[in-house]
Symmetry: D2
Subunit: 167 residues, 4 copies
């Protein structure tokens, strides 16, 4: 039985300390559940912080990088997947994730949320207010908002209980 | 001297008749300027309508398709670029476009706007209200809103006058 | 009715003068037939020479580039398709080509021939000896060897006469 | 310190029983060294057999799939990376591998060997005779031929001893 892969998206260089702290906590909780953490793999912002949290709790971390080498990979990434495809790798991020948690970010994060919803991945917004954007997916239950990492974990468990799609 | 490539994004199956009419008019005007029209290439919605408009005015139409064959390509596409990369091709769409015009759409269109802005392409929103989304790019002058196809053309000419980047 | 897209593959920086002369002649003949020439788009070797030949005869040239910008594109390329995907773009090259002509090259060219055959594109080897490599495709009629550009054109016409797949 | 990622390439549906047995043995040895096994992820041929061998020895298996879902993934793959990019994923396979072992295969395998060499990855041919193909890389020491899985492991250790590039 495969482990669940949880994609964690969010800001890179521009992520605030508060957002990075949330990402770190989320990473810890994901690892404690025995799930695999996937992110964009670079050593900044939400990517670095969430991988650090997961690694510290013994979790496995997968980083899907835009580059052709691992020079900019976070040191907390166990498996750097080198796509060489720039932002085109965002599509691979969301396809590979069984469920996506999105923290505050900008264009890159928004593109990942959009592609995730379009491709049927549930998206949990963690302290990220998108206003009315994608509200049709919220109504359909595919996009959910929470304020704390613990709530994101609880929502993932609910999704798992409702589905057999991942296994 | 290369011709300008104008990317036209917007809804697919779900595009309204009004939106398709705008796309058709925009396609006509792009062709009349002698520019190349690029879109996602499928035979539905904004893709089909904009290609039809451009083709009827003798323009060249480039469709960057998600598929491995041209079965679903619009008949108005001259050059079907087969990427075989699903929604991952959205990144190729925006990189290849010198400037992007976005009509109303949903997740696919939003992902393209996000990737365009992230990669420095100007985005002209044609009758597409995004609220406060990406407002930092609006302030920086990279995202502009217009109501009519003629205004979109005028904005593209302003961008061209301000830059030498495309040639 | 769409124009045929002929992919021209072969060496880049390492291509000899003789090979470039063949590529130039081939480009001229492709344009004279009214076909679209597609190649990898960079301003070196077979890519540059074949695009130059086609352009001089009024043909349309499409360059599928590995880069995120057109800085290294051949000046003879009309439409630079920017994939940002490095050598991953080789797959897009062959999918988009209705038929492939391969001149002498090395690893990049071999990868394109392999992917073309695997995906059902006919490959015409122009003065390129591959020994027994891919001989099962030669037996099946999908890979053909010729010595002169004129012969390559004649073979493409035979393939066109045998098939309705492109239109 | 990251674990070494060893890419194992080779035939799919067409792989012989002998080749699959070699792949299975190789997978076991890779896992016993504590290395990560990467392959194309499908449940056939060298992909399935090498993943089975690695899994049985407690190794971690990464499958970079051409598809948008994991339906065709080998049950022995722990982490299915869903690229949705068809054979375009071959480029991601070789970029992500620190070193590549290639067993007998056809066009797909040849394309991966070509892309690996072009991008500076060492390729160890395991009981796979390529004649004079890529002989310039053999002379440069980037392509090596062995007959047994144990010899492939020994060659990987030599490469590791000569380099610091992976860590």
């Amino acid at each position: 039985m495969r482990k669940l892969i949880v994609g964690v998206m969010g800001g890179g260089e521009g992520a605030s300390e508060d957002v990075c702290r949330l990402a770190y906590e989320l990473g810890r909780l994901i690892a404690q559940e025995g799930w695999v953490l996937l992110n964009g793999g670079r050593g900044v912002g939400v990517m670095d912080a969430s991988a650090k949290g997961a690694r510290e709790c013994g979790g496995l971390t997968l980083g899907v990088l835009p580059d052709r080498n691992a020079a900019d990979a976070s040191p907390y990434i166990d498996i750097p997947v080198l796509t060489g495809f720039g932002d085109g790798r965002n599509y691979i991020n969301i396809l590979t994730s069984n469920v996506v948690v999105a923290l505050p970010g900008r264009t890159g994060t928004i593109s990942e949320i959009a592609l995730a919803l379009k491709n049927g991945r549930s998206v949990i917004l963690l302290d990220f207010d998108l206003g009315e954007l994608f509200s049709e997916y919220r109504k359909a239950g595919l996009m959910i908002s929470v304020r704390k990492p613990e709530e994101a974990i609880a929502e993932i468990k609910k999704i798992l209980a409702d589905t057999t799609q991942f296994f």
